[in-house]
């Protein structure tokens, strides 16, 4: 336990000490919010509602905000695994690896660090809610926080897996960008992913971000008050094998996914002889 705390604490201290990273990590989601929430919202609303008669107000910004929070979680948590490569480069990984802390603590500590940092960023985005003219139920915002932490942990695991096989930070950034952008676009974060061609639909259903985004939206947007058509338009009727999935199943999927990546990451730290 002490080992997990040590690794978690170190990543947190370093995050708050690195002003450039702190600043940079907020600019990206704000930029996306400006572009999608402000600039493109009209176009997106027309596109999404062109074949259906919505009848009532459909607010794209309300749809995209949880998506952008999830996107921020994804970016931050995956990229924070880069610290593993930096630790190898700067030698600190040796200090960790020769110490008696268990290898699973290293993986869990790193994931907890990434999850904490990304959750903090997500929460800070909540401050923009009034500025965007949105309103979410306060309780649902509180409820979504533990889930954001879980999602951050799961996604940082993806980063850890890449970090364990890639040895340069440049290579890591390049590869992770190639992976992360499709994960965002094929998750329903920015636009609904219903009606995808078959092969792409498989990718969508395997993408953990899809369920992350879906849970975020279902918790934050009070879906019971929305009509079926609006739900359909927002792509909130996610089905797997023709069956609509529940929030519980989605959380379970992410939980299982997290456990699997922890196991693989632990194995890779066991093999590492830095």
């Amino acid at each position: 336990m002490e080992g997990i705390i040590a690794i978690w604490q170190r990543d947190l201290i370093k995050f708050f000490r690195d002003r450039a990273r702190l600043f940079g990590s907020f600019t990206m989601p704000i930029l996306f919010l400006l572009i999608f929430g402000g600039g493109l919202s009209g176009t997106m609303e027309t596109m999404m509602t062109q074949n259906i008669d919505v009848g009532e107000d459909f607010n794209y910004v309300q749809f995209v905000f949880p998506g952008i929070v999830s996107m921020t979680l994804l970016m931050t948590s995956v990229f924070s695994a880069m610290s593993v490569i930096e630790d190898k480069d700067f030698g600190y990984m040796k200090e960790i690896l020769v110490s008696p802390i268990s290898r699973v603590s290293i993986a869990v500590g790193k994931m907890a660090g990434a999850a904490t940092v990304s959750t903090i960023q997500g929460i800070m985005l909540f401050a923009l809610i009034p500025l965007l003219g949105l309103s979410y139920d306060f309780m649902s915002l509180i409820q979504v926080i533990p889930f954001m932490f879980l999602l951050g942990a799961a996604l940082s695991g993806i980063g850890l897996l890449f970090a364990s096989v890639i040895n340069s930070t440049q290579g890591f950034q390049l590869i992770v960008n190639i992976i992360v952008l499709p994960m965002v676009f094929l998750s329903g974060a920015l636009f609904p992913i219903s009606g995808m061609p078959g092969w792409l639909d498989v990718v969508v259903k395997l993408n953990p971000v899809t369920y992350g985004v879906d849970v975020m939206k279902k918790i934050m947007i009070d879906i019971d008050q929305l009509s079926m058509t609006v739900r359909e338009t927002m792509g909130l009727n996610l089905t797997v094998f023709g069956r609509q999935v529940t929030v519980f199943e989605e959380i379970l999927f992410i939980l299982v996914f997290t456990v699997i990546v922890v196991a693989i990451a632990t194995f890779s730290f066991k093999r590492a002889n830095a």
């Binding site: 002490e2 080992g3 705390i5 040590a6 604490q9 170190r10 201290i13 370093k14 000490r17 690195d18 700067f90 030698g91 600190y92 040796k94 200090e95 960790i96 690896l97 020769v98 110490s99 008696p100 802390i101 268990s102 002889n273 830095a274």
Partner: protein, 310 residues
């Protein structure tokens, strides 16, 4: 004295290369054990196996009663390692680096503060403990690493090239701290270095070459084994001087390197006064010295390279 490290028939084979060919040695409690060898001798491979970082092909290493392969965590808790390269987190302060180390090694919470102050005292860094490590000089960083290596009271401290890349002044300073440690704490040290003059502080030295231990003893014994004294001289005409020496002088091995003639004799006291009288050519430079570890090292590894070429 008890052995704190026992290495038995240790072998490491990479594909077709035998990096370590079944070595045996013991390190006694409280001693400084010097581990020397030319590059590629298998030194790093051996150390990595001893420090649980590399699984051996066969053979065993026992540290503080624990098997390094089967009881990795117990071994890791019993040793402290000062690596050749910097392994501090430079973005953190000295104190933060030490606090993290306490957590990694499960130092009891109530003892952490006093231990950190204690090790900082030993290496004289108590006043700068809240500065970030990136502001430290090379020597200060090394001292901090040594302090960190001591935090969990290891049975054995591994020092891998502890003074590499430091200026002579800082090197001397650092050795002062290391020797102070041995005196005050009686800690066992496993030392590798390329500076043979530094290896003189060792109680015993092992020389490794081509995957085997080719000599192991105290520096004094090793030097005595080499025997006698070394006389180095330059004359106005070296060629003629050598002729004269070969004609008139007995009981000396003569070798030449550059413009210096080396004579190896059993005892310089008995030899030198007669020798100077015998020589007609004026001597321009004369130096008499005891063999150093450098001579020992050259003698051992040199001989070994020759035999392996045959």
């Amino acid at each position: 004295m008890n052995s704190v490290i026992q290495v038995t028939d240790l072998v490491k084979t990479y594909k077709n290369v035998n990096a370590v060919k079944g070595i045996n040695f013991d390190v006694k409690e409280g001693e400084i054990f010097g581990f020397l060898g030319p590059n590629g001798a298998g030194k790093s491979t051996t150390i990595n196996m001893i420090c649980t970082m590399l699984p051996p092909t066969s053979g065993s290493v026992v540290i503080n009663g624990y098997d390094v392969h089967k009881q990795k965590d117990e071994v890791r808790g019993s040793i402290g390692i000062i690596f050749q390269e910097n392994t501090l987190d430079e973005k953190l302060t000295a104190n933060e680096n030490l606090r993290l180390h306490c957590r990694f090694y499960n130092v009891p919470k109530e003892k952490r503060h006093s231990r950190i102050q204690e090790v900082l005292q030993i290496v004289d860094l108590i006043d700068v403990q809240n500065k970030r490590v990136e502001e430290f000089s090379g020597g200060m960083k090394r001292r901090l690493e040594i302090a960190r290596g001591l935090l969990h009271y290891p049975k054995v401290l591994f020092l891998d090239e502890p003074t590499v890349g430091l200026d002579p002044n800082t090197r001397a300073h650092l050795w002062k701290y290391i020797l102070k440690l041995k005196e005050q704490e009686g800690i066992t040290m496993f030392l590798t270095t390329h500076y043979l003059d530094e290896a003189e502080v060792s109680d015993r030295i092992a020389i490794m070459d081509q995957g085997e231990i080719i000599a192991i003893d105290s520096p004094t014994v090793l030097k005595d084994e080499l025997g006698g004294d070394l006389i180095e001289l330059s004359t106005e005409d070296n060629d003629q001087a050598i002729e004269e020496i070969q004609e008139k002088v007995t009981g000396a091995d003569v070798t030449v390197s550059g413009d210096t003639i080396h004579l190896k004799v059993e005892s310089s006291d008995a030899f030198i006064s007669n020798f100077i009288k015998t020589l007609d050519i004026p001597i321009t430079k004369l130096n008499i010295r005891k063999p150093t570890l450098n001579d020992v090292f050259l003698a051992f590894t040199g001989r070994n390279i020759q035999t392996s070429e045959e």
